[in-house]
Symmetry: C2
Subunit: 410 residues, 2 copies
């Protein structure tokens, strides 16, 4: 049967992925062993390994002379190049950039961060990021010759459709423009850009032995943002605004929000709002660290504030849970780490809302497990998710036949 | 390059789909014309057309004797079989079953419904549905020899993962069990089952020249249910409960709901709840038709009730819109058709909630366009969406090369 170019490319990627998987699973293998393990002809396998060697994704590790039985020339054994960066994840925050580099095994082989002042222009942030990428290479020996893609997290909404479509923005808020093009030019690799809170959601969903297919993530920080993973995919929404849980109204008579509405979740659940509410009750707290001390002392005024906030969060997340039926709801941000009562109170509010749903496998409500590098890790996870072989398509298998429409719901 | 069975099946389906598309676009074609149009060798094309002919998906329409230039035996011209049902969509409601049959052009070529009493056991509903399928064949000449799949809508949550996993259910509510297995056995075709309100959402998303990728659907009926389309896919949720917008709390002091909570949207926005609220204001209405008469008379008490309901709906849908950033929000159900003010009031409430989002392409809030057959049409749409070639994977093209990870966000 003849093949079109598109199908041919798919077949090649399938084979490459299978070769890399075999090397991940078994360590160094000769071409003969590889061919047997992945079920390919020697000729096809040679084409595949030549391309992978040329791009630096794999290396010749040694020969099988030591273990070889019988006569003949020893065969080279191939292995993953431990220094080959396959994917770079970048997270531009308001005050720092985080970068992580992953190898073909999806392991992070280098990471670091660089701080800058709030309001630093984007061209300077880019220069800082590029310098950090170089520094990581010098410090760890990682190289970028086999780079498949770069994933980038940015603050604020982002549709990330392509470098030609401008980034969308909140009203009156400056957005990074051309960040993707700059990285594409610098690394000659495809670039994926998305909101960094959303990427953190994907990182939390991917950070366990069992990947969580359906997850709602809420981050309490200077603002309140969210991210959704639905059926294993990040949800962007029509204009890049999906997951804006911080601007759902929780109190029609509440305070004015920076978004222009009144009584958004952010007006009660952002870190500054929580600190202000504590001060209103006579508790002298200026920073999250101060708040941590009061929590440690079991200050009852602080407990009331945190439980009220937890209830407000729980209302919003409860509605989101009835809408999306996720497996996990995750609360992130520094203030969650010092005030576990927020998670506890939100969880009981959510559980009430979920009363009608059978509880044989109850929803998990938990604090985030990753630290501030979650955006960069999520950018890497997004790239691995984006690979055509992984993006919602049944992987062709040597034995299975995908001739039938799948029976499962989406 | 060698091919695995899985890739081979994908290639064959790609080719079949391309042959069917060419016949859809151009009408009857000879094998030679087909081979040229789809870019396949004559040998490969003959394999493909032989299989399609054998399954009754296509027929020999005529020969090219009339238009042929030069000598030689006239060539057969092939065409889609206009009577070949490719997909059957079934929607079991509480009181009737709707069935629609679609051909390879995705056109509905037969449809009908059969009523039964509320509470009719599932084995009787199945027998009624099978009889209706036969009746449609006798009345319209449609045949099921080329059947690809059957899509089935049922009331209540449904994970639809496979015939071996039991249907999940609301607490204390009987769910159809074995419906999928019965259809699989009867038609020897794969079966897809999902909640019928969710399928109606997909039908509304697919019912326009431009398919709507992101849509939230709410149906006001005896109960209040919903469905979500995210990135072109139906959202099921972890346990099949996604889209349960009717059981989001809108009033902590509200009435008890049949789900066991207090103040769910359903307690104010179901058709019975709306009629009861009108009676509480002294308006004598027993049926939706009665309500329609009062709306036509611009009864001010009825207007107040409907606007209050519209506001409650708008609160829930506004939060869903901030969560999912859909392109359209659709309100369905008989009561929406007779009371457009519901949509109007919900729309302005939603618009307030969406204030922070740029309005260059504002969210559309509208009444449903399809009638009660929406569930069966949605079941058909779900099958066409489920086809491996359409399910989130870039279709291999003769010219394009999908070697690069896609740059778009999910």
């Amino acid at each position: 049967m003849s093949m079109t170019n598109g199908v041919r490319a798919l077949v090649r990627r399938t084979h490459e992925e299978r070769v890399l998987s075999a090397l991940r699973a078994h360590g160094a293998l000769s071409r003969g062993e590889l061919a047997a393990k992945v079920g390919l002809s020697r000729t096809t396998l040679s084409e595949i390994t030549a391309s992978l060697l040329q791009r630096g994704a794999i290396v010749v590790a040694d020969t099988d002379a030591a273990v070889r039985e019988g006569s003949g020339r020893p065969a080279e054994r191939l292995a993953l190049d431990p220094g080959a960066g396959q994917v770079i994840g970048v997270d531009f925050g308001h005050r720092r950039v985080h970068i992580a580099v992953a190898d073909a095994s999806h392991n992070v082989i280098a990471s670091g961060l660089e701080e800058y002042a709030n309001g630093t222009p984007w061209d300077e942030r880019l220069a800082i990021a590029f310098k950090l990428v170089e520094r990581l290479s010098q410090e760890t020996g990682v190289h970028y010759g086999a780079l498949q893609a770069v994933g980038i997290g940015v603050p604020g909404p982002y549709t990330g459709t392509s470098s030609v479509s401008p980034a969308v923005s909140w009203k009156n808020q400056l957005m990074p423009h051309g960040v993707d093009a700059a990285f594409e030019e610098r690394f000659d690799a495809p670039v994926f850009v998305d909101n960094n809170t959303r990427l953190a959601a994907l990182a939390e969903a991917s950070n366990r032995p069992d990947v969580v297919d359906n997850l709602v993530y809420l981050r309490l920080s200077d603002g309140v943002g969210g991210g959704l993973v639905v059926s294993g995919r990040l949800v962007t929404g029509t204009k890049g605004f999906a997951g804006e849980l911080g601007h759902i109204m929780v109190d029609p008579n509440g305070s004015m929000c920076r978004c222009g509405k009144r009584g958004c979740l952010e007006t009660v659940a952002s870190a500054p709002a929580i600190l202000a509410a504590c001060r209103d009750r006579g508790v002298s707290v200026e920073t999250i660290a101060d708040l941590g001390l009061e929590v440690a002392k079991s200050n009852p005024a602080v407990d009331v504030v945190l439980r009220d906030v937890g209830t407000a969060i729980g209302r919003v997340l409860g509605a989101a849970a009835m809408t999306l039926n996720p497996r996990e709801i995750v609360l992130g941000g520094e203030i969650v780490r010092i005030a576990p009562v927020l998670v506890e109170q939100a969880a009981s509010t959510i559980r009430y809302e979920l009363y009608p749903i059978p509880t044989d496998e109850p929803l998990v409500v938990r604090a985030a497990q990753l630290d501030d590098s979650d955006g960069a890790l999520g950018a890497i996870a997004a790239i691995f998710h984006q690979s055509p072989l992984l993006a919602g398509y049944p992987e062709p298998s040597a034995s299975g036949d995908h001739d039938q429409p799948q029976r499962s719901a989406q």
